[in-house]
Symmetry: C2
Subunit: 371 residues, 2 copies
């Protein structure tokens, strides 16, 4: 640990809660585990409520006359009809159509946006573009540290702390709510398949107070500290930038075709490249896999995927995997090469422990159990 890997306004609290390790995202600490096991944490998350320090979801603020123009230039997703108060999942691509990041965009005003980012320096990307093109826009990282409240009891807890109106917030909408003498932006969103909220705390000095307030009010809801849960995330088919996709992948490969407006009505970086890629068809596609054997270890480095019985052909690599108590099988995410990505394709996966495991390709999201 050093200053280079930044602490958050909640780090003292998560340490006091006995955090069992951190990862690093956007040069900032992300708690990795609290519960004795990921599975204990998974069941808790699906039944109660958790507090997650996701301050590493840094905000890149675009503000000024050309803010809307810059935001639109950075993403293939059509932002024309986006409303103030709306959250939008936006792939960001470079001139080759490669994924630069996949943030949530928050439209705060007609000339005011936040990009709540995954793990790459979108701040430098946006500043570089703005400066190079001479745009009239301020690009900065404000003092905003998201704290997520996730789980089926999130609404009850949030109503207790912020008032009944917050319960009416719709999914992927945000509002402004009083917290003490401050006003905070709170969205109904989160990196899980549970209900939940993200509080975009705009003042680091209030971090301990916010944490303690939710913690105390949460006692009656069996609150625990938490963090994005691997099993829940894979079951939900939620992608992780840097894991499932990198700059080497285009949004079509990531299953994000529906977020790309290619009809010429929208001007964005990489449009020519995406049009060309669409013409040629993609070479690979993000898919799920269900596979056998005992509970698999975490996927520390990608695991090769072969068609079953054909070890000489590599058709993908599992980048995230976990044992799913719901499916009672291992589940994973992987790009799969063209020709092999149909549901039901039989595969052989060699997990990090060296075990060869039979399995099959599935669509994403994963099919419902019994479907």
């Amino acid at each position: 640990m050093s200053r280079r890997i930044r602490r958050t306004p909640y780090t003292d609290k998560v340490e006091a809660c006995g955090v069992r390790g951190f990862s690093v995202v956007n040069h900032m600490l992300l708690p990795k585990a609290f519960q004795p096991s990921i599975e204990d944490d998974y069941w808790h998350l699906s039944e109660h409520v958790q507090l997650w320090d996701v301050s590493c979801q840094r905000q890149v603020e675009l503000r000024g006359k050309d803010a809307a123009r810059l935001a639109q230039w950075m993403t293939p997703r059509d932002l024309k009809n986006t409303e103030i108060g709306q959250c939008l999942y936006v792939p960001l691509v470079d001139e080759s159509g490669g994924m630069v990041n996949d943030p949530i965009l928050l439209k705060l005003g007609h000339d005011h946006f936040w990009l709540s980012i995954a793990d790459s320096d979108v701040l430098l990307w946006a500043k570089g573009l703005a400066l190079g093109a001479g745009l009239d826009v301020s690009v900065r990282e404000p003092d905003v540290s998201p704290l997520a409240v996730q789980g089926p009891k999130a609404q009850s807890l949030m109503e207790l702390v912020f008032g009944a109106a917050i319960g009416e917030l719709k999914f992927f909408r945000f509002g402004r709510f009083a917290f003490g003498n401050s006003e905070q932006i709170i969205a109904r969103s989160g990196y899980s398949k549970q209900d939940g909220f993200e509080i975009y705390l705009n003042n680091s000095d209030l971090g301990a107070t916010l944490w303690d307030t939710l913690w105390e009010a949460g006692q009656e809801f069996n609150i625990t500290p938490g963090c994005p849960n691997l099993i829940d995330r894979v079951e939900a088919g939620l992608l992780s930038y840097g894991n499932e996709m990198t700059r080497a992948n285009n949004p079509f490969e990531c299953g994000l075709r529906r977020y790309c407006e290619l009809d010429g009505s929208v001007d964005f970086i990489g449009r020519d490249a995406l049009v060309q890629i669409e013409r040629n068809g993609v070479e690979r596609l993000i898919r799920g896999v269900l596979f056998d054997g005992g509970p698999c270890p975490p996927c520390a480095k990608p695991w090769p995927v072969n068609p079953r019985g054909r070890d000489e052909i590599r058709i993908g690599q599992v980048t995230t995997a976990a044992y799913s108590p719901r499916y009672q099988r291992n589940i994973g995410l992987t790009m799969i090469e063209r020709g092999y990505w149909d549901a039901g394709q039989e595969v052989m996966i060699t997990s990090g422990d060296g075990e060869r495991r039979t399995g099959e390709v599935t669509p994403l999201p994963f099919p419902a159990i019994g479907a």
Copy 2:
């Protein structure tokens, strides 16, 4: 660990050598410790030779008609007389004069540069600038994974592996040397105050072979695996981006005035801001501190610095510190506010263990012992 935090071509080797932990730089693993203590490692480094996996020093390649123009636009340092084969320490600044990174630039050709970067996505910054300004330049991250050979016996080892000519390489110069059937760029440089070389391996598949070759040849020189050593680095006054400085600091504050050409002969981002800052004078300056008490713990979060006897005034924060066996005192790096940065200023430092420690400000580099 996950794919998002990238392994290097040497990670298998450093794991086999019993690495005791990793940090994350540029979304990639950097080994943190091998020896039982940092001090053991320090003495070994100053007497023998070590192999460091510094692949996280990613290369941002600028190539094409406008490559030289882009390189110069990104740094206040005058690149006019830079020669092919030269390495240059170049502060990169944004439009406000804030530090974006402090890489080593390698001039490979008149239209071909590498920036060997510290911990921020310079790739996105350079791509954004190029794309925004419509420059004719390719910006990419090539498959280049630096391996450092550091310590007083580095030259002997390198001569054994690469031939006698490599011994003639001057400090901060690079050349092309045969390795098996490949040609590799090797510079005389490194993040220590020892002699040393950095091999810019241009093919990940050769990582294991390169490591093993140096490892075997190094046995007679008492080679060990290593990594940047905290004590050696602080004694040398080497700054770490993200620790001693961030985007909130300008190059003057970082002691880099001599690398800024403000006479108008060079066109770079942030020139107006730097001219203005120079006119007003800087508010703080990077300094050393020597301080008392038992060996200090690592500086996991910044430690407050006060003038001695005046706890109400905060004049700085120690961002890196270590006990120096040479000085037989604790040494640290800190920005110090104007009015307090003169050598000899008496300070009180409260280290992370809560201990209050008397000390004094020094220039950087630290004065020689007895000076």
